[in-house]
């Protein structure tokens, strides 16, 4: 029986990173991610984790150091949030292009301005097209499990891509939850040591990050895109193996009471837990045929899986936590509309934006969004997106 303990989600992630026996950590403190790397620096200082902890002067440097350590063949970890992620931006593109399997926790926080330290998904959405694998955790256990699985996915020779594991800032990062930890033996059996395909080594010199003249750049981008698309196969395999070993199964999209639902809501991250409460209320007390899809894998986007799940569904309400200002929809909704546009059977898709900058998204908000989805679908209302919970 696995050890079950109550611990802050941030510290649980640090313990997962320790169990993964990372070689190098470079990070800069930023709320609400700070506790993760703070605890890791303690583990290194106390001799509990044999790794290089490299303090840097900015997030741009943190990600640059990570590029160097990963290129040298070290298992590499970092964590950031919001403005820190924005400062890393330039280097974020280079990591997947160099095929460096760095694992990063992103404690999701809104971007300035106005200055906000609270939670939404605008930070991740601002780096959507950097080419990283993006996973979402809903609770502490998932954050712990996904962190460990991420190292194995990222370092698989068929993948060799970086992963960001998203946890909602404060609502997840700073809460104390029960976790089932894995033992070092269990983790060692699940996660083999990192063996890079090519690494920086003076005995066998290579050049990484070369110029891509017009005769090469396009081919390089094609290869990178195919690698990200094909990583889905390995992600699925690792999810399966993790479940078989430890009894906790993950999937790209996880339905909740979706059978026979006439209307579905779709969420990412910790608000999914509130959404499940709302579904229970609507199903059990209000007699509404409502279900939920929780999107775990944001990149590579699970196009085919969504098409299958949504075939025959009447209406879908997508709950986004970021704005694409004056766009055709909120980020997740736009993606799903695109994925389904050419399908014969597809639901009406309502796009909602809720919970910006740490605004609570309540059970009542989810009921409102489910009802609105039904109403809008009946009227076939053409719209871009609606903001829910903002004072008019």
């Amino acid at each position: 029986m696995a050890k079950r303990i109550g611990i802050e989600v941030s510290l649980g992630i640090s313990e997962a990173v320790k169990l993964a026996n990372v070689d190098a950590i470079a990070a800069y403190p930023i709320t609400p991610q700070t506790h993760i790397v703070e605890h890791l620096s303690e583990l290194v200082a106390d001799g509990e984790l044999d790794a290089a902890f490299i303090p840097v002067e900015s997030e741009h440097s943190a990600m640059s150091v990570c590029a160097g350590t990963a290129a040298a063949g070290a298992r590499t970890y970092t964590a950031t949030s919001s403005q820190g992620l924005a400062l890393m931006n330039e280097i974020l593109f280079i990591i997947p292009a160099l095929r460096l399997p760095i694992v990063m926790t992103l404690a999701n926080r809104s971007l300035s301005g106005p200055i906000s330290i609270w939670n939404d998904h605008s930070d991740l959405m601002s780096v959507r097209d950097t080419g990283w694998i993006s996973l979402f955790a809903e609770n502490g256990q998932e954050a712990f499990d996904l962190t460990l699985q991420s190292f194995r996915i990222a370092e698989d020779r068929r993948v060799m891509l970086p992963i960001n594991v998203n946890i909602d800032g404060f609502t997840l990062s700073h809460v104390i939850e029960p976790h089932e930890f894995l033992s070092q033996e269990e983790v060692d059996a699940f996660l083999p040591p990192y063996e890079p395909i090519i690494q920086l080594n003076p005995d066998k010199p290579v050049s990484m990050g070369m110029v891509g003249i017009p005769e090469i750049y396009f081919e390089a981008k094609k290869a990178q895109d195919v690698a990200l698309i094909e990583s889905k196969k390995v992600i699925k395999e690792v999810f399966q193996d993790f479940g078989d070993r430890f009894g906790r199964y993950y999937d790209f999209i996880e339905p909740y009471r979706a059978e026979g639902a006439e209307v579905l809501l779709l969420t990412m991250g910790s608000i999914s837990e509130t959404a499940m409460e709302a579904i229970d209320l609507m199903r059990d007390q209000q007699g509404k045929k409502v279900g939920l899809l929780r999107l775990r894998l944001w990149r590579p986007f699970p196009n085919e899986e969504l098409r299958q799940l949504l075939s025959g569904v009447g209406a879908l309400g997508v709950v986004d936590r970021a704005v694409s200002y004056a766009g055709a929809g909120a980020p997740v909704a736009t993606e799903i509309r695109s994925a389904l546009y050419n399908c014969e059977s597809k639901p009406y898709i309502a796009s909602f934006i809720a919970g910006l900058g740490g605004r609570d998204v309540t059970i009542e908000d989810f009921v409102t969004m489910a009802d609105l989805t039904v109403e809008m679908a009946a009227k076939k209302e053409v719209h871009e997106y609606k903001m829910i919970g903002v004072r008019e």
């Binding site: 292009a97 070369m210 090469i216 290869a223």
Partner: protein, 97 residues
């Protein structure tokens, strides 16, 4: 790279488009960029080697008689050698089409 990379499929490159054979930049003919080429009047050359020192592309080579020749496959025709030559024995000559 054994083959001309402009003919290669995206599937044929090393992972992350790394370069695994050091020094292979010599295979890339930067001399094709040139519009003017340096030509030496060797009767005026004092064998000082300043052209060899200032060339940013290592396209100046020591000849057997102590003067210097140009590697026209890699010389981009920047003209720094002609500007710096003490005796003015290097002149930049228009390339023919």
């Amino acid at each position: 790279m054994a083959r001309n990379f402009s003919e290669m499929s995206w599937k044929e490159f090393d992972i992350a488009f790394m370069v695994t054979n050091p020094g292979c930049s010599a295979e890339y003919r930067t001399g094709d960029w040139r519009s003017q080429k340096p030509v030496t009047d060797k009767s005026k050359c004092i064998k000082c080697g300043i052209c060899y020192l200032v060339c940013p592309d290592e396209a100046v080579m020591l000849a057997a008689d102590g003067t210097y020749d140009f590697d026209y496959e890699h010389c981009k025709g920047c003209g720094i050698c002609a500007t710096e030559c003490w005796t003015g024995c290097i002149s930049m000559v228009e390339e023919e089409e």
